[in-house]
């Protein structure tokens, strides 16, 4: 019988592994937005991503004993996973325009570009050597990747829905980063950020509405035709 050597690369602890997995899910949902072809699907992806961020806050609250994060998790779940999607859907209910194929590149090339950009974010932040007491440093790198991929989403997709959702999901990436760096941030500040987002959602919703009423489409390609 041949003996097996188990020289494994040291695994992170169960808590770190879980937190990193949730952070990876947030990033994967961001990638999913690159290919979403219906505006409902785009909003649902955003809602799912917000749920994942709230779950991460919950994981930190349980694992590290920071009870005020429960309040933050509940608030962000309510606001970002329920109210924002409802507001978006409500404002655009009667619009029949599609966002399929609004990418300026093929989906596979967009994914490859995003992988490169995400890799840059990963290793740039990893090289800073920031250590956090509550979350593993990989989660910070992952949130940087979320922010950068949301930039790619806003740049490459030429429809207002994806660009607005890209902006909102950028906020998801930032709030994930704030969980790593400043989990003990005073609750009032975090809540203030959340309500800032709500204002942004309403403003964006109105702008999207005006745009789709004028051009009968969500595409931003037609925007330069409005001049004069």
């Amino acid at each position: 019988m041949i003996e097996i050597l188990t020289v494994a690369r040291p695994a992170p602890t169960v808590f770190d592994g879980t937190a990193n997995t949730v952070a990876v899910v947030v990033l994967l949902l961001e990638f999913g937005m690159l290919r979403a072809s219906l505006f409902g699907a785009q909003v649902r992806l955003y809602a799912a991503q917000s749920v994942a961020v709230s779950v991460l806050a919950g994981v930190v609250a349980v694992g590290r004993g920071v009870p005020e994060l429960f309040i933050l998790a509940a608030l962000s779940l309510l606001l970002k996973a329920v109210i924002v999607p409802l507001v978006m859907m409500g404002q655009l209910r009667d619009s029949r325009a599609e966002i399929a194929g609004s990418g300026s590149l093929g989906v596979a090339s967009e994914v490859i570009i995003s992988i490169l950009v995400a890799a840059f974010g990963f290793f740039a932040v990893g090289a800073l050597g920031i250590h956090s007491e509550v979350l593993p440093a990989a989660a910070l790198s992952l949130s940087m990747a979320v922010v950068l991929v949301s930039f790619v989403l806003m740049i490459l997709r030429r429809d207002v829905i994806s660009q607005a959702i890209g902006f909102f999901s950028l906020e998801n990436g930032v709030s994930m980063a704030s969980l790593v760096i400043a989990a003990g941030l005073p609750l009032i500040l975090e809540v203030a950020f959340l309500f800032d987002l709500l204002v942004a959602v309403v403003v964006f919703g109105v702008l999207i509405r005006v745009q789709s009423d004028r051009t009968k489409s969500f595409s931003t390609v037609a925007l330069d035709r409005l001049r004069g």
Binding site: M1, L5, G17, A108, I115, A119, S141, L142
Partner: protein, 319 residues
């Protein structure tokens, strides 16, 4: 209790895969039919089909060379070799188990697929050639995903022996929840959907030649040769399921001793686990639509993304 000699266990690994695989195919088509509200074929139908085909005469197209008839036999021999390399029944490596790593198994599987494609190219039948050329084209873009999955395994275990990864996965919950492991398993599962010709890549039971990849290749074979190709594709499916289950997702229920009872239990456990994967695959089959041919790259790029992220998180120390 009876203690089995190691070569017998090794032979049992091969026998389990070869003789259980048509049954797994039968269960999947039965489950799929039930979900669509049909009664479906009997679970044992694939065995009857094979028995019938082995009794039929076989024809070869005019001008096809000897390789046309040799390829199904050689491909089947490849599928018999791979179960010796991967943990089918045991947690410990069997005497021939260390003669190849995961890459070795992958090369043998790719060789089998190459021979089937070459035989298809020799027929002159446009559909068989279409299938062969598509299989090779998309094979070339799924290959990097497989390589990255192997690299992930290598980074996690510092070897690329499948037995070691299985032992690592069972060693504790921290190995299970690590993102690298989950991402690599998910990427491998997507590759398996591709390799076994399931939705969203192709319809398994359809007769629409223009969408076919795997199914089109044996169009010109008949009789025992066709039976070997069909049997081989079932065996390949169970080999991939075994690789996914016993190395990545659920390496539990394997025999850790040489006792007869343990080995028998391992056989039953493997078949049960493979049926569970088969049910998941048929749910996917019934939930999603087939992708258009040129969108298969999107599917593969998603699998590639998962595998790349697995490596990234490992390098950052978080995987």
């Amino acid at each position: 209790m009876l203690t089995l000699p190691l070569p017998v266990i090794q032979a049992l690994q091969v026998a389990t895969v070869v003789f259980a695989s048509p049954g797994i195919t039968g269960v999947i088509s039965q489950v799929e039919a039930r979900m669509q509200g049909r009664r479906g074929p009997r679970i044992l139908q694939p065995y009857y089909d094979l028995a019938k085909l082995f009794r039929k005469e076989s024809l070869a197209p005019l001008h096809s060379g000897p390789f046309f008839l040799l390829a199904p036999v050689l491909a089947f021999a490849c599928y018999l070799t791979v179960p010796m390399l991967i943990p089918v029944l045991t947690t410990y490596a069997l005497p021939l188990g260390n003669m190849g790593d995961i890459l070795g198994g992958g090369i043998i599987l790719a060789f089998a697929s190459f021979m089937v494609a070459t035989a298809a190219a020799e027929t002159g039948d446009p559909y068989a050639q279409l299938g062969a050329s598509r299989a090779k084209t998309f094979g070339a873009i799924t290959e990097p995903v497989v390589l990255l999955v192997v690299f992930t395994v290598a980074l996690v275990t510092s070897t690329d022996l499948p037995y070691v990864l299985a032992a690592t996965v069972t060693s504790g919950p921290d190995q299970l929840v690590r993102p690298a492991h989950l991402l690599a398993s998910a990427a491998l599962f997507m590759v398996i959907l591709y390799e076994t010709g399931r939705i969203p890549i192709e319809t398994h039971t359809g007769t629409i030649e223009l969408g076919m990849i795997e199914e089109a290749r044996p169009f010109e074979h008949s009789g025992p040769y066709y039976a070997l190709l069909k049997w081989g594709s079932s065996a390949k499916q169970l080999i991939f399921y075994t690789l996914f289950l016993n190395v990545f997702a659920a390496p539990w229920g394997l025999a850790s001793t040489r006792e007869l009872g343990d080995v028998l239990f391992a056989i039953v456990a493997l078949i049960a686990k493979a049926i569970v994967v088969g049910i998941v695959v048929s749910v996917i089959d019934n939930t999603f639509a087939k992708l258009r041919l040129f969108r298969i790259t999107e599917f593969v790029s998603a699998a590639f993304l998962l595998a790349v992220l697995a490596i990234f998180t490992l390098y950052l120390g978080g995987g």
